[in-house]
């Protein structure tokens, strides 16, 4: 306001204050766009633009030597869930793809549920610490979040592989005679994803629990509620936004996981990310890879949309 005042004075007596203010605002908006330009251009070139190219590629014909032929085709999208029989040309469901889709969804949901089971008490524990030590606990959760995902996956591999800590220990104690095969199984992938994505569950849960009004908890106990009842009827409903946020934050990267299933699943247990990679490597079916990528992106966007709608509705109810 103060600035627009000086501007109108400088602009002379012919221009009305309102016009000068509008001109100032236009200029300011232009400056703001110019300031955003470098970031927007970088993102357009190395993030958003290429995504549009993927969309285009998903509608092209595959070149069996890698790359594409510039001819419109819906084969790739078709092949996401269907395939033609090599012998009698009949249509079938693409079992290989569907089973990988199903495994991805199953493992991501499993990871999310496990992360919630472990993450909820952890977040609650941190939120109920005295103010001074709380930051330290939070720091301990944050550290793994910022350390290299590959190294954390490698660390969990060292724990569960046949010559790893768990098997060596069990063999040494004499509980088992032969190592338990954990690597290259769905279990290994789920453990790995739980391990690397757990902080993503704890952090938003903690953010909601920190704001929890413990007088309401106290009121619950005063009205003769048991701990379980307080948990179910008071705490969980109040931290629901955190539960939703944490679940989405774990589910999305799990669904698109690439490194963890590659390292811990070997070539045996593929997830969607590995299936996509395969199309650009040995598969040499770029359009199918592009269509699969777009499918993954769509699922993620739907999950985000659900999240945004849920949280905005809840925000409205509170306000």
């Amino acid at each position: 306001m103060a600035i627009s005042g000086t501007q109108s004075q400088r602009g002379g007596t012919h221009v009305s204050a309102a016009e000068a203010a509008a001109a100032f605002e236009r200029r300011e908006t232009r400056t703001r766009w110019l300031l955003s330009a470098p970031a927007l251009i970088t993102l357009a070139v190395a993030s958003i633009g290429p995504l549009l190219i993927v969309l285009v590629y998903s509608f092209l014909q595959k070149n069996p030597n890698g790359g594409v032929f510039w001819q419109f085709s819906t084969d790739a999208w078709f092949n996401v869930i269907l395939q033609r029989d090599i012998f009698d040309d009949t249509l079938q469901f693409a079992d290989a793809h569907l089973s990988i889709f199903w495994r991805s969804v199953k493992l991501s949901m499993g990871t999310t549920v496990l992360a919630l089971i472990f993450g909820f008490p952890t977040a609650y524990f941190i939120a109920t610490r005295p103010e001074r030590t709380r930051e330290l606990w939070l720091f301990l959760i944050t550290i793994p979040f910022w350390t290299n995902l590959l190294i954390r996956t490698f660390a969990i591999q060292e724990v569960i592989r046949n010559e790893g800590i768990v098997n060596s220990l069990l063999l040494w104690v004499g509980i088992i005679d032969a190592p338990i095969q954990m690597m290259f199984t769905d279990f290994a992938i789920m453990m790995g994803m739980l391990y690397v994505f757990l902080p993503l569950m704890v952090l938003p849960l903690y953010a909601s629990m920190e704001k929890l009004d413990f007088r309401l908890v106290e009121a619950g106990y005063d009205l003769y509620a048991t701990r379980l009842q307080v948990l179910r009827r008071v705490i969980i409903p109040l931290v629901k936004p955190g539960i939703i946020a944490g679940s989405i934050l774990v589910f999305i990267p799990s669904l698109g996981a690439y490194v963890t299933p590659r390292v811990l699943g070997g070539g045996k247990s593929l997830m969607l990310g590995n299936l996509i990679e395969l199309q650009f490597g040995q598969g040499r079916n770029w359009p199918l890879g592009a269509a699969l990528s777009m499918t993954l992106l769509c699922i993620v966007m739907v999950a985000l949309l659900v999240y945004v709608r849920k949280t905005s509705r809840q925000g409205g109810a509170h306000g």
């Binding site: 470098p38 993102l43 070139v45 790893g164 705490i235 650009f280 890879g289 985000l304």
Partner: protein
């Protein structure tokens, strides 16, 4: 009357699960670190303390090259991303909503929403055609890709800092006939500095850690430390990997710890 020890904040078993959780998070990393000092080749049987795997990793030329490339890319990308993010943060905070503001927000946050593998594949397709068209296969592709996905991470702390700052100081500067640039340099920038440093550190760590996008964008012979490690993990694992990981973790933890204390001071 409740027992003296009764606390409304306590939930049965929660503390136990929380502690299990912390142990679960740290035990694998700590084991990995401990066995990097193991004299033997095994990653499970302890055979005495030694630095030999560190020496071997340090003498490994591939490790040297990839570590250097990692640092180079992370430095350039983090600086670029921080500059761009600072400008974007100035443009998107402390303003009345204008047309396109939401679009700018959405654009900046795309790298956070799009699965990494999808971005990686998209960049592979896009850069492959540029590589064919121009013949250039240098590290600019990696720098561009890293800069793009670092922008939202640099943007978050800078924006948070800006929003907690008072605009009156800048208005005062303007009233005292400071040009916009001078007001920025003498007033806004010094106040914003901690946010910028925090953003720079986050961007650096994020770039240093990236595996997936780098793996798809890199040209032949352009391994960063994480992609080199990913390649090695397919083979037999020796404690040399533990040694590299330990150093890598040390650097990340140091940067994050610095970031944590800096942002804490602000509050």
């Amino acid at each position: 009357m409740a027992k003296a020890t009764f606390s409304v904040r306590r939930q049965t078993g929660f503390a136990t699960i929380a502690l299990v959780c912390f142990v679960m998070l740290y035990a694998p990393i700590l084991t990995l670190m401990i066995y990097s000092f193991n004299d033997g080749t095994s990653v499970a049987i302890w055979e005495g303390f030694s630095w030999r795997w560190y020496e071997r990793a340090a003498a490994n030329e591939q490790v040297q090259e990839s570590a250097l490339l990692s640092l180079k890319i992370a430095s350039i990308a983090a600086v670029l991303a921080t500059i761009f993010a600072t400008m974007a943060a100035l443009a998107t905070t402390r303003t009345r909503p204008y047309r396109g503001l939401t679009a700018i927000f959405a654009a900046i946050n795309t790298p956070l929403m799009v699965p990494e593998i999808v971005t990686a594949v998209a960049l592979l397709i896009f850069f492959a055609s540029i590589k064919v068209a121009t013949g250039y296969t240098g590290i600019a592709y990696l720098v561009a890709a890293h800069t793009a996905f670092c922008i939202p991470f640099a943007y978050l702390p800078i924006r948070a800092r800006l929003e907690s700052m008072d605009a009156t100081l800048e208005i005062a500067a303007a009233d005292l006939y400071a040009t916009p640039w001078r007001a920025f340099r003498r007033v806004t920038f010094p106040l914003l500095w901690p946010g910028i440093v925090a953003g720079l550190m986050l961007a650096f760590v994020i770039s240093l850690d990236d595996v997936v996008i780098t793996e798809f964008v890199k040209s032949a012979g352009q391994d960063t430390l994480p992609t080199y490690m990913l390649g090695q993990l397919r083979r037999i694992v020796t404690p040399e990997m533990n040694a590299i990981s330990t150093v890598f973790l040390g650097i990340s933890v140091m940067v994050v710890a610095l970031f944590f204390f800096m942002t804490r001071k602000k509050n």
